[in-house]
Symmetry: C2
Subunit: 378 residues, 2 copies
DNA sequence: CGGCATTATGCAAGAGTCCTGCATCATGCA
DNA sequence: TGCATGATGCAGGACTCTTGCATAATGCCG
């Protein structure tokens, strides 16, 4: 714990004003006053400072609902910068562009040849992100941070360990890309990012202890405990797939469904259609899958006792039928069955979590009380 | 995030000075200056304030090693208050008295009749704590907080759920006792407190992600993640005992050892003696126990991936033989075998963790930036 | 259309906190 | 005894926050 200077006090107060404005709607001085407990002259000075640095602008006066002189309103200049979120999996890449308020400005998805090797994949990622930024006229100095979700574990130092893209094991993807794009790039396990996203804007907004279970070809889990991502030593938290007693790794075998009538229809879509028409065989398949998933989830629930388990991944479309079955099976295995919800974000969740991680990295710049408040034009 | 006025700044700085002194040795003004980044006049004002409020006193000047005028030295008045830690189990009660620096001043242990019911047990706890405080001349206004470890889960609201003392289920022990003793009383699961204690002063001082496994008649686990206690919804984190796939609840059956020669010697003491004399049968028993413990610990390790697993509870005396066997068995079950250590605190660990929890509760009073800095004489 | 209540804004005065810098004091060493 | 070294005492100055009053702009009502 450090002592604070008068200058630090002012910086602290200025950031407090900025945070209040970032939270949402444009605010008048009166509202800022009650939000920050600061006096009006102090607020005016802080706002002037923030305005010259490009963080804040005066908004149009709101509709004059109240009597009296209309108040000026100030807003956070979300357009002052951009962050990007990338989800690079085995089969696809998803790119998301957002402003500093986290508002999504553009999204793009493209299939990848699963056979593409690690080096080509890195080049591909670089090239597509570069093109994506160019397409949306993002200048280098506008880009504040990038988050990247990868299919593998990422340790605290940023090094990857992946069985899906084995050549990336040992790679410090963040450092490599940050050299290319001239801003912080944070690599993170994709399931962890899905958990972050569900907590931010998905099914887990109301709780701070969430386990996000990826159920599909892969079985993995992201943990958000106390509102913060829990990685564990070397990023291995939630990797229950490898314990044979629980049979999580092979659970997907129970999800076979070859009854697709229509050409080109995916297995899960066909299964969902069968479920919708109350096909008893389809329900039996889903129940068997739930039964094989249950011990692994039970171990997770007993270990960390989350408020909520979010089911995401390939089975998401069948989620509404899966959750009650899962609840039934869990009742036999755990003391307390947690709430179970289906991902509301689906596939774009990972790249949205990557955006959130990038925004967190921007926040650390602002939270640092020493040094001057940065400007938006760097 | 709130704005701060000049008064809050001063309070912030004063607390920073106090924290610097709390950390350890008495400090001179120069050392405080480098520790807090504050100027000398500011430090002097803060120290005067802290002195009149009773938090700080001038210490004897250290041995004049350096040239120049000898500097005054200031120290935290740890004797300005007391906190107590209690561990009430099925078979025993342990009481610990400490000063505000966490220095232990007294400890007491007493057996309890395991058949004692919930109501009598609460009275017993009250009476023994009262007597313990009287014996050591702790006046009511000197006692700042009490921590209590109980054999059961404690939810966020402070309510207990226990199978060991079933009558306590639903009890808000903290509120009840705080009315009796006139200070905050925090109830917490005993294994959680063991984890806190090992992190504070035991085997887990160097790491912030720790699982503390209670191995003995009971099987339970306390989790400290990111340096903070992780309770989970309703305090159920780490309760892997109930999952039959892992067989943790019945593991203790493998630990039978009836070969005690000496009268009155406990089972574990006899086993340790046999291990010391390289009795192959004793080693086989321990190996079988490790094998039955391993799947549960593996599930925990895969779920949260801690840096360190601390083994505590009844088997602690045999820990040095248990840990290598456990490591061997875990190697087959997990990707990464974490470090495994034996509790260095043993049985008093829980009450020491209770002391730490009580001290944390004192800290929250100091950390609150609004309102005046409290005095030690309330 | 004009007065009134209501709310926002401009400006100055006042109080509080922190830092810098110089002179002074106390000790160890030559 | 003189000197270097580091601690202490005491202003002066700079900065920040708050309070309070006068003024400006709007909606409402007569």
């Amino acid at each position: 714990m450090q002592g604070h200077d008068l200058g630090a006090l002012r910086r602290l107060n200025t950031v407090a004003v900025l945070q209040a404005l970032r939270a949402g709607e444009p605010l008048t001085l009166s509202r800022l006053k009650s939000a920050t407990n600061l006096s009006r002259p102090t607020l005016e000075l802080a706002l002037e400072d923030l305005t010259t640095r490009g963080w804040v602008a005066e908004a149009a006066t709101g509709e004059g609902r109240s009597p009296g002189r209309p108040a000026r309103r100030f807003r956070f200049r979300a357009e002052a910068g951009r962050v990007a979120g990338v989800d690079i999996g085995l089969h696809k890449i998803v790119l998301t562009l957002a402003d500093l308020a986290g508002e999504v400005r553009a999204t793009e998805r493209e299939d990848i040849d699963p056979a593409m090797d690690g080096a080509d994949r890195l080049d591909f990622l670089r090239q597509r992100l570069r093109r994506f930024l160019d397409d949306h006229a993002v200048r280098a100095e506008e880009l504040w941070a990038v988050g990247v979700g990868v299919p593998g574990l990422v340790d605290e130092a940023g090094r990857i360990r992946s069985v899906i893209v084995p050549e990336w094991t040992g790679l410090d993807l963040g450092r490599r890309l940050s050299e290319t794009f001239g801003c912080p790039v944070i690599a993170e396990n994709d399931v962890n990012l899905a958990a972050v996203a569900e907590h931010w804007r998905g099914a887990a907004r109301l709780t701070d202890d969430v386990a996000c279970v990826l159920a599909g070809r892969r079985a993995a889990c992201g943990l958000l405990l106390g509102g913060r991502l829990h990685r564990g030593r070397r990023g291995g938290a939630g990797e229950l797939g490898s314990l044979p007693h629980l049979g999580l790794a092979s659970a997907h075998e129970a999800l076979q469904w070859q009854h697709g009538d229509k050409e080109g229809e995916s297995e899960i879509t066909a299964l969902v259609r069968a479920l919708e028409s109350d096909d008893p065989e389809a329900h039996a398949v889903l129940d068997a899958y739930a039964a094989r998933l249950a011990p692994g989830i039970a171990a997770l629930v007993l270990a960390v006792d989350p408020d909520l388990v979010v089911i995401s991944g390939g089975v998401t479309p069948a989620g509404q039928w899966l959750t009650p079955r899962l609840t039934t099976h869990l009742r036999d295995l755990t003391l307390h069955v947690p709430q179970i919800a289906v991902s509301t974000l689906g596939e774009p969740g990972v790249s949205l979590g990557a955006v959130r991680t990038a925004l967190d990295s921007v926040d650390t710049i602002l939270d640092n009380p020493t040094g001057p408040l940065p400007s938006t034009t760097r």
